[in-house]
Amino acid sequence: MSDESQSRPRGQDFESSLDKSDKTVAAFEHTSKGLMDHIQKALHGNPTLVPVIVLVMSVIVFGFIAGDRFFSAFNLTLIMQQVSIIGLLAAAQSLIILTAGIDLSVAAIMVLMSVVMGNLAVSFGVPTFFALIIGFAGGGAAGFLNGLMVTRLKLPPFIVTLGTWNIFYALNLWLSGAQSIRSQDIDANAGALKFFGEAFNIGSARITFGSILMIVVFFALWFLLNKTAWGRHVYAIGDDKEAAELAGIRTDRTLTQVYMLAGVVCAIAAWSSVGRIGSISPQAFYEGNLQSITAVVIGGISLFGGRGSILGALFGALIVGVFQSGLKLAGVDVLWQVFAVGWLIILAVSIDQWIRKVSA
């Protein structure tokens, strides 16, 4: 304040009474502080907690119900093997869902690329290394096609990938003649395709390279999404695409890259699936896209984009695997296993909605 203002008549001074006003910063009212509020807040800060808790609890519960056959190192590592392919697809799916999109074509890309790799390496005698490279490139190209249509033609991801799901599936049947490539033929011509089926034992635990691959891919993507600028852009786009654009993010370019990356992850899954199944089966994983979405949703990743950790999808896939194994070993009929997974999905999304209300 200058001398001039001090010399003004008192009648003009409206601010002196400000001293008596409330000087605290504007804040939300904290009225009820019950246990549920604490839980809700904790989960909001860390949405992966839910699937982790469900996973641990379901392992314990099935350990009691189904006994040692379930709760053994062998069976728990077997579950890892069984979910390793859907897990990788769920990783690809998470990338897309984090951008508020959805990808119905993940499993179709995977099966198509496994057929491409297998045909090249087994039927045409292309060195396995090149067959794999072509497969990865093909996965990237398939994702690029999806991304291009989403960003350039401005079509909803649901429609784009519904279309490409059919397109890739048809190409798969055309290339494979709907015929499996036999395990023995792969062994004879391109054994490296089965690399991820190799395993080692620790005690009675049996860990395949495919299980390790799944975990490595998840952590690599987690790092990419959380520790790089590109990854934060992906979250920003999923949260609010227009705001992200106004903030200077090249949203279309980043989105296309996300779809490409998902395609490459699908191609990695294709390689791993040869090891897992043994043969190359054009008929397998027809519902892989839906199973991957199931894992992502159960893993606490919001279908509205921008929220959730990709690691959640790993736990989501494991939860489904634990339920299927546990229910089977408890002697429950197949249809009740399907029933249980259905309720899991609904429960997971309800919890997600509840957590989202935390700031309201």
Partner: protein, 344 residues
């Protein structure tokens, strides 16, 4: 957002429907016939379609072909039958994807004067259709059951049997093969249309495979978890058998387990030659379709309907046991002979 999803779903449904229902050819003036398969992806149906197309050409019949998208896709098959009635065809060859659900629309077709022949999978009851041209699936199962029992000799009394079935709907081909196998092996099957009502302690359990390698492997792993000493494995088809073998191999059990299967696809017969599958019952899809086309032509010309085989409620297109380890008293072909007759 809501409207987008709604529009998307509607558009998606429209796309799916048009893909599944698009006829391969338009109807013409000559005798028309339709072939409706469960899918157009399974090599079994691909071969069936080949037989039908060749038969149609030879007999001057205008053939339209339809297929469901996946096993169990009832809607696509219903709309295919409706399209077929509307096209004025004389007859329908169909592999019902659901033995009961398609009955109303098939009745409607027959009321419109079409000859309906079920191929491969019988309706329930079988007389829903005018005739059934099929493999005797119970016999196919029984043959591999008898073979497995004879192969094991005295050990059969202490066998530990894993049953790898098709899917949770328990369609006729699924229970016929399953129950046939068990009967052949000497198990009291109780209700012959119900899978899993047996209480023979030799059965470790049933699991579903969806008839592919991935499902076969997972199901085998699960049953091995229930009892690691499984030594006989029944499989609904050869891809499931190949998957089961991979699971056994990963646990070092591939050499002391007997795997039997049904189908007669070329990769499956090759797997018999390689010792993956002990024995498989071969069926003849091409014959079902070509005979079916002939029957429709005959019906169009004379109005006569095809007759069933003696003592059966269907026309038996035959089944052969393929194995490289023949046992006394059961007729069989070697895998080499089988490779000359296999499909796919």
């Amino acid at each position: 957002m809501k409207t987008t999803i709604k529009t998307a779903l509607l558009a998606g449904a429209a796309v799916a429907a048009s893909i599944a229902a698009a006829p391969a050819m338009a109807a013409g003036h000559e005798v028309g016939a339709c072939l409706i398969t469960k899918t157009d992806t399974n090599p079994f149906f691909v071969k069936m379609k080949e037989g039908a197309v060749a038969g149609a050409e030879a007999n001057g019949i205008n053939l339209q072909t339809f297929a469901g998208k996946i096993d169990g896709d009832v809607e696509s098959q219903v709309s295919a039958v409706e399209t077929c009635i509307a096209s004025g065809a004389k007859g329908i060859l169909i592999t019902p994807t659901d033995s009961r659900a398609l009955a109303p629309v098939v009745t409607q077709a027959r009321e419109n004067g079409l000859l309906v022949i079920a191929l491969d999978t019988p309706f329930e009851p079988a007389d829903t259709a005018d005739a059934t041209f099929a493999t005797d699936n119970f016999k196919a199962g029984e043959m591999i059951g008898q073979w497995a029992k004879a192969k094991m000799g005295d050990d059969a009394a202490n066998a530990k049997i894993a049953m790898l079935d098709l899917n949770p709907s328990e369609i006729s081909v699924d229970y016929l093969r399953n129950q046939g196998f068990l009967q052949g092996f000497g198990v009291d099957i109780k209700n012959p249309t119900d899978i899993g009502d047996e209480d023979d302690p030799r059965i470790v359990g049933n699991d579903v495979t969806n008839g592919n390698e991935e499902g076969g492997r997972t199901a085998m792993e699960n049953l091995l978890q229930k009892d690691p000493e499984v030594n006989v494995v029944y499989t609904i088809n050869e891809p499931a058998a190949a998957g089961a073998y991979e699971a056994l191999k990963s646990m070092g059990r591939e050499n002391d387990v007997l795997i039997v299967s049904v189908d007669g696809g070329c990769p499956g017969v090759q797997n018999v030659a390689d010792g993956v599958i002990g024995a498989t019952s071969m069926q003849f899809p091409l014959l079902m379709a070509s005979k079916g086309i002939e029957a429709i032509k005959h019906f169009a010309e004379t109005g006569e309907k095809p007759q069933n085989s003696d003592g059966l409620d269907f026309y038996n297109t035959g089944v052969e046991l393929i194995t490289d380890e023949p046992v006394d008293g059961i007729e069989s072909l070697s895998s080499e002979e089988g490779l000359g007759k296999c499909w796919g």
